[in-house]
C-alpha cells in the first residue's frame, strides 16, 4: 500500500474545477453546440430570418417581375408598393425575386468556398509536410490576387466560353465563380486551427486506437469545429452576396435570373438616380446592407463563443474605466495578464 503519510508529489498541478464536474445532465448533442443567446446574435438572427423568409415566400405572392404592362417609373403607391421601373416592372416583385436570387448565389458560393477551405486548410494543417507546403502556397496565391478583378476575369471568360449553353450566364455559374475565388481567407483560419487540434491528446488517442487520417479529420476533428465552420460559411455568404452585386453592377452578373445586383445594374443603366427614381435602387441596396449587417452580427456572436477572450474584453474595458475613474492603477488586473 502507498504510505498515506506521504505528501502528494509536487509535480503536475491538479485541475480543480474539472474534478467537481460530477453533475450529470443529459444535454442533447445539438444543445451544447448552439451558441448562447446574446443581443448581437438575436438581432442578427431576426434580420437574416426576415430577409430569408421574404426571399422564400414573397415570390409566390407577387406579380410577374418582368411584366412590362405597368406604367413606367411610378413612385410607390397602393397598386405598386415600391413603384415601378423604367420598363414598368414592379419593384416589389423584382425585390422578392432578387432577394431569392441573391440568397441562392450566396448560399451556393458559401458552401463551395467552405468545402474548398476545408480541403485546403484542414488537410494542410493536419497532414503538414510537403502537402502543407503545396496547399499553403496555393492558398497564399489566391490570397494575394485581388478578389474582384479575378472574379471579373473568370466571369467574363466563362460567359464567352462556347458549349456551356444556357449555363453560361446562370446565377449558378456566377455562384461557382464566387465560391472558387473566395475560400482562401477561410482556409488560412482553418489551417491554423487544424494545426493546433492535431496535437490534442484526443486526436493522438484516436491515432493510437487505429483510426485512419481522413476519418480522424472528418469524425474526430471537424465536429469540434462546427462553430468555426459556421462562421466561415457566413463569411463566405456575405462575400458572395456583395461580390454578386458588384459583378452584376458591372454587367458581369447572371442575365437569366434576377438578383439584387441585377436590379442595381438595371437601375444604373436606366438612369434611376438621374430621374429621381429612388424607389428603384434604394430597396435592393437596403436589403444587401441589412443582410450583410445581420450576417456579420451572427458572425461576431459566434466569434465570441469560439474565442472567449472577446467576451471578456468589454468587461475588462469596463472594469478598467471604472478603476481609472476611482483613481487607482490596475496594472496587475488579471483579465489579460
Amino acid at each position: 500500500m502507498a504510505d498515506p503519510r506521504l505528501p502528494a508529489p509536487p509535480a503536475e498541478p491538479l485541475p480543480t474545477s474539472a474534478v467537481a464536474t460530477e453533475r450529470i445532465a443529459r444535454a442533447s448533442r445539438v444543445r451544447t453546440l448552439l451558441p448562447s443567446m446574446s443581443g448581437k446574435l438575436l438581432t442578427g438572427l431576426v434580420i437574416v430570418g426576415v430577409i430569408v423568409l421574404f426571399g422564400l415566400v414573397a415570390p409566390a405572392f407577387v406579380q410577374d417581375p418582368r411584366d412590362s404592362g405597368n406604367p413606367a417609373l411610378l413612385p410607390p403607391g397602393p397598386d405598386h408598393l415600391l413603384g415601378t421601373t423604367k420598363l414598368g416592372y414592379d419593384v416589389f416583385a423584382q425585390l422578392a425575386w432578387g432577394t431569392q436570387g441573391s440568397l441562392f448565389v450566396g448560399l451556393v458560393a458559401g458552401v463551395v468556398s467552405l468545402l474548398l477551405a476545408v480541403v485546403f486548410g484542414v488537410l494542410a494543417g493536419y497532414f503538414g509536410g510537403v502537402l502543407d507546403e503545396i496547399l499553403t502556397l496555393l492558398t497564399n496565391i489566391m490570397l494575394v490576387i485581388p478578389g474582384l478583378p479575378l472574379v471579373m476575369v473568370i466571369a467574363a471568360y466563362v460567359q464567352h466560353t462556347e458549349g456551356l449553353g444556357p449555363l453560361a450566364r446562370s446565377s449558378f455559374l456566377v455562384a461557382l465563380v464566387l465560391g472558387i475565388t473566395g475560400w482562401a481567407g477561410s482556409a488560412v483560419v482553418l489551417r491554423a486551427t487544424a494545426r493546433s487540434l492535431r496535437t490534442r491528446d484526443y486526436v493522438a488517442a484516436s491515432r493510437v486506437a487505429g483510426e485512419r487520417p481522413l476519418r480522424i479529420i472528418f469524425v474526430e476533428i471537424l465536429p469540434n469545429l462546427v462553430p468555426l465552420l459556421a462562421a466561415q460559411l457566413i463569411f463566405g455568404v456575405i462575400f458572395a452576396v456583395l461580390g454578386e452585386a458588384g459583378l452584376s453592377y458591372l454587367g458581369l452578373g447572371p442575365t437569366g435570373s434576377i438578383t439584387l445586383g441585377t436590379m442595381l445594374n438595371d437601375a444604373q443603366t436606366g438612369q434611376a438616380v438621374g430621374s429621381g427614381a429612388w424607389w428603384w435602387f434604394v430597396p435592393p441596396g437596403a436589403v444587401i446592407a441589412l443582410l450583410g449587417a445581420g450576417l456579420s452580427l451572427i458572425n461576431f456572436a459566434i466569434d465570441e463563443i469560439v474565442n472567449p477572450k472577446l467576451r471578456l474584453a468589454p468587461q475588462a474595458a469596463r472594469r478598467q474605466r471604472k478603476a481609472r475613474r476611482a483613481g487607482r492603477g490596475i496594472a496587475d488586473d488579471g483579465a489579460f495578464a
Binding site: E12, A27, V208, G210
Partner: protein, 281 residues
C-alpha cells in the same frame, strides 16, 4: 499461418531508444536529448515503473512505444519483431500495445459519447464483428473498468464525467483492441488525490487478471514501489538506476534517486510541511 514472421521471446522491448529535438532559439539551434539511450523490456504479466521528474523524457518514451513519435535511433521490438510505423502491420501492433494518456480531460473527444470511444477501437480491430456484438462488448468493457451500470455512462459525453471516471473510460478504450501491453503515462497525476488509488488498483487488478505487461510511468516513487515489479529511474533522458522495486527504494545507489526519495518521504521535511500547514491555518 505458414508464413509467420520469426517470433522471439514474448515481450515489448525498447532497444537503445534515442530521441533528439532541435530547439531553435533566435538564430541558434541546439539539440535537446529528450531520450538518450533507453533500453528495457516489458514482459507479459509484469509491471515496470518508469520514474522521473517532469521533463525527464518519460512521455517521449511512451509516445515512441505507442508509435506516435519516431526515434532518432534505436527501436521498439514486439516479441522480437521490429515495430512498424505505418500500414496494416502498425494496425496489428496497435491491437497489442495501447497507451493511456496522462490527462483524461484532454484525451477524450468532447464531441463524442463514451460509447463511441470504446466502440471505435472494437470496430477497427474486429472488422467482422456485428454492430450489436460491438455494442455489447463495449458495455462489458465499461463494466470491466467499474463504470456500472454501463448504460448510465454509455450515452454520456466526457464533460459529464469526473476525472476518475474519464480515466476509467480511457483504460477501457486501451483494452478494447485486445491489447496485451499497456503504457500508462502518469495515469493518475491529473486526478484528485482521493481517487488516485482507486484507478491504480483497477489497473493492477486488470494487469493480474489479463496478464498484461504494463509500463507504469509516474513521478511518485511510493506508488511505483507498490504497483510494480521493477523500477527504472529516469533523469534527463537517461536511465540512471534500475532494479527490483524494493531494492531501488530501500537501497538507492544513484544520487538522483535519493533526491527523489527525500523529496517524497523525508520525515523531517514532512514534519516541517505539517508545521507550515498548521501555521498557515
Amino acid at each position: 499461418m505458414t508464413t509467420r514472421e520469426p517470433v522471439g521471446e514474448p515481450g515489448l522491448e525498447a532497444r537503445r531508444l534515442v530521441r533528439d529535438y532541435r530547439i531553435r532559439s533566435g538564430l541558434r539551434t541546439s539539440t535537446l536529448h529528450a531520450v538518450a539511450d533507453v533500453s528495457f523490456t516489458i514482459r507479459p504479466g509484469r509491471t515496470i515503473a518508469l520514474v522521473g521528474e517532469s521533463g525527464s523524457g518519460k512521455s517521449t518514451v511512451a509516445r515512441i512505444l505507442s508509435r506516435l513519435e519516431t526515434t532518432t535511433s534505436g527501436g521498439v521490438l514486439l516479441d522480437g519483431v521490429a515495430a512498424p510505423m505505418r500500414g496494416a502491420a502498425l494496425e496489428r501492433y496497435r491491437s497489442r500495445v495501447q497507451l493511456v494518456f496522462q490527462d483524461p480531460f484532454a484525451s477524450l473527444n468532447p464531441f463524442h459519447t463514451i460509447l463511441h470511444h470504446i466502440e471505435r477501437p472494437l470496430r477497427i480491430h474486429n472488422p467482422r464483428m456485428s454492430a450489436s456484438e460491438v455494442r455489447s462488448r463495449a458495455h462489458e468493457l465499461l463494466e470491466r473498468v467499474q463504470l456500472t451500470p454501463s448504460s448510465r455512462y454509455a450515452d454520456r459525453r466526457p464533460h459529464e464525467l469526473s476525472g476518475g471516471q474519464r480515466q476509467r473510460v480511457a483504460i477501457a478504450r486501451a483494452l478494447a483492441p485486445g491489447a496485451t501491453y499497456i503504457v500508462a503515462d502518469e495515469p493518475v497525476s491529473m486526478l484528485d488525490v482521493s481517487i488516485r488509488l482507486g484507478v491504480l488498483n483497477l489497473l493492477a487488478e486488470l494487469q493480474r487478471s489479463e496478464g498484461l505487461g504494463v509500463l507504469y510511468i509516474t513521478h511518485d516513487l511510493a506508488t511505483a514501489r507498490h504497483f510494480s515489479d521493477e523500477i527504472l529511474v529516469m533523469y534527463r533522458g537517461e536511465i540512471v538506476e534500475r532494479g527490483d522495486a524494493d531494492t531501488v527504494i530501500l537501497n538507492p545507489q544513484h544520487a538522483y534517486t535519493r533526491t527523489l526519495l527525500d523529496a517524497a518521504a523525508d520525515p523531517d521535511r514532512l514534519g516541517r510541511l505539517r508545521e507550515e500547514v498548521r501555521r498557515s491555518q
